[in-house]
Amino acid sequence: MQAVANEFKIPKENPLAKPLLIEGEQTYNSLTEAVSTVVEGKTPRNWYIAFAVSFCGTAMLGGMLSYLVLTGVGVWGNNQPVGWAWDITNFVFWIGIGHAGTLISAILFLFRQKWRTSINRAAEAMTLFAVACAAIYPGFHVGRIWMAYWLFPLPYNQGMWPNFRSPLEWDVFAVSTYGTVSLLFWYVGLIPDLATLRDRATTKVRQLIYGIFSLGWRGSNRHWQHYEIAYLILAGISTPLVLSVHSIVSFDFAVSKLPGWHTTIFPPYFVAGAVFSGFAMVMTLMLVARWALNLQHLITMYHLEVMNKIMLVTGSIVGYAYTMEFFMAWYSGNMYEKFTFYNRAFGPYAWAYWTMFTCNVVSPQCFWFKKLRTSIPFMFCISIVINIGMWFERFVIIATSLHRDFIPSSWGYYRPTIVDLLTFAGTFGLFMTLFLLFIRFVPVIALAEVKAVLTHQQHKAHGHAKH
């Protein structure tokens, strides 16, 4: 090996070598310290400020929803023909955000992408909170929220059952299964790290609470063996699950016969869009978190760059889907289909369509350039632009397909009311409240997994040193 290396003058530093996932001189203990002190230290003042603002948002959400329940769904701007408006837009928006969390935790785990370990915990938490925000909308859109149990197959006095032939019922099962499995997956990953906090606890209360939630974990290898199998199987089933959830969400539209909705491209197109928007949200949150919590050595530029590349890919898939929808509308020769798409790009909602197109298809193309994809202020802006664009995508699909019905006499236009706006703003408050509580009380980085990566990294370094 030595001779070959000399002969071909292999440079000492391999240009194809992957950058380190954990930077600096680290030990197991320094990693424990870095992650645990975030939770154990004194609560920073900025946390209180952020929490106060978010909590006001949550309170506003509560107020708006109470107002809706006491008055009726009419407080929203929904009308004839736009019967599904912001409620479903926001539902799909939030559920889509969640998908990046599962992609990072499950799919990247199966592909042995070790870089996931620095961000998976926070991304999975984001999934849970996004699903919570999403579930609010269909729940309240049913109008009589106290009848929401009708959604589930429960034996109650009417003797009737849900209509399993309806995609909306599929959605109930998909979203509730997704929420439950994501919670279990997240919790299983948390157990060893909660045990770390338990063992470091200095007060009785902390010891008791973390003790209960860590279930008496003692790092036994006879436990790790089953643990690893369970984790692998959870990852294995979460992968088709996450694909199925957004496919089923897209069935809410695709199974109907409405031009603009009735297309077979919807399931993959929705899944790609969901991953795209979710990564943008992870990026926004991670950039703030790594700066605020001093985790730059764990969430490195390499992590950010890889995420930007995923956004470039999924953004391009979404762009392809937008174009292909237009091609099929033209190629189908169906006049209603053609009208819907022409109307989408050049009708009264053209402003929304082109906002969507610019944000989702044009803006991520900047990530072809290494300079831009490694610039933190730039990627922060783009991540927000993408989230705006992806919200508009759902709005465009829903509102533009509905607002011009088959007969011009039943054409209409949708405008959100102030209640719509404040409710949506309120869900961000709820999301941030939950996220702030998460970073204050739960280890934000999967400690046990990062330690395994560190070991791998050290063994590799020693292996190279021998040659």
Binding site: A174, R218, G219, S220, A448, A452, T455
Partner: protein, 180 residues
């Protein structure tokens, strides 16, 4: 300290390579009731300890089949038996429309099997008291120490000899007897 009150003997190590070697030696010395405690799953430790493959997947498979069957029965019995209601001229039961919910039920029960099977059935958790924590060093299992514990229940266990044996392992620190 009476013999009966002893849980076992422990030794702490500082790296995964040391615990691998230690686990192999403990096994070769003929001990069977021993365990390793590590901050993260260490590669090849299962083989070093001579553990058999986990049987958890069989339990999970049973849950998967249960989930599939329940999903099928739910949709068929409610729609085609208990309350027949024709909606949109669609059949009372058909696999086509049953597939999404069938899939979700299967996944849900598989996840339950994996999580509760792993925690409860196979690992015996929650277990809020365990004698290993009577040693101060055990608090560092979840931080940066790798522990070997040999239980007093092991037929070969002898307080002095086992302690000496643990002391002889490369890198062993804090060798001690732990109370039950």
């Amino acid at each position: 300290m009476a013999e009966s009150k002893i849980f076992g003997a422990i030794a702490a190590f500082k790296s995964d390579t040391e615990i691998l070697e230690a686990a192999r030696k403990v096994r070769l010395a003929g001990y069977s009731k021993f365990d390793c405690h590590t901050p993260f799953p260490v590669h090849h430790l299962d083989q070093a300890m001579g553990m058999k493959r986990s049987k958890l997947p069989y339990l999970i498979l049973c849950c998967t089949i249960t989930g599939f069957t329940l999903g099928l029965l739910l949709q068929w019995w409610t729609g085609a038996v208990d309350y027949k209601l024709v909606i949109g001229g669609k059949p009372l039961f058909a696999l086509e429309f049953a597939t999404p919910i069938l899939f979700e039920c299967t996944v849900l029960l598989t996840a339950f099997g994996a999580v509760f099977g792993m925690l409860g059935a196979f690992n015996g958790l929650p277990e809020l008291y365990h004698p290993i924590f009577n040693a101060e060093i055990s608090k560092r299992i979840t931080d940066d120490r790798f522990l070997v514990s040999i239980e007093a229940k092991d037929p070969q266990f002898d307080a002095t000899k086992t302690t000496e044996f643990l002391q002889s392992l490369k890198g062993a620190e804090e060798v001690q007897l732990v109370e039950a």
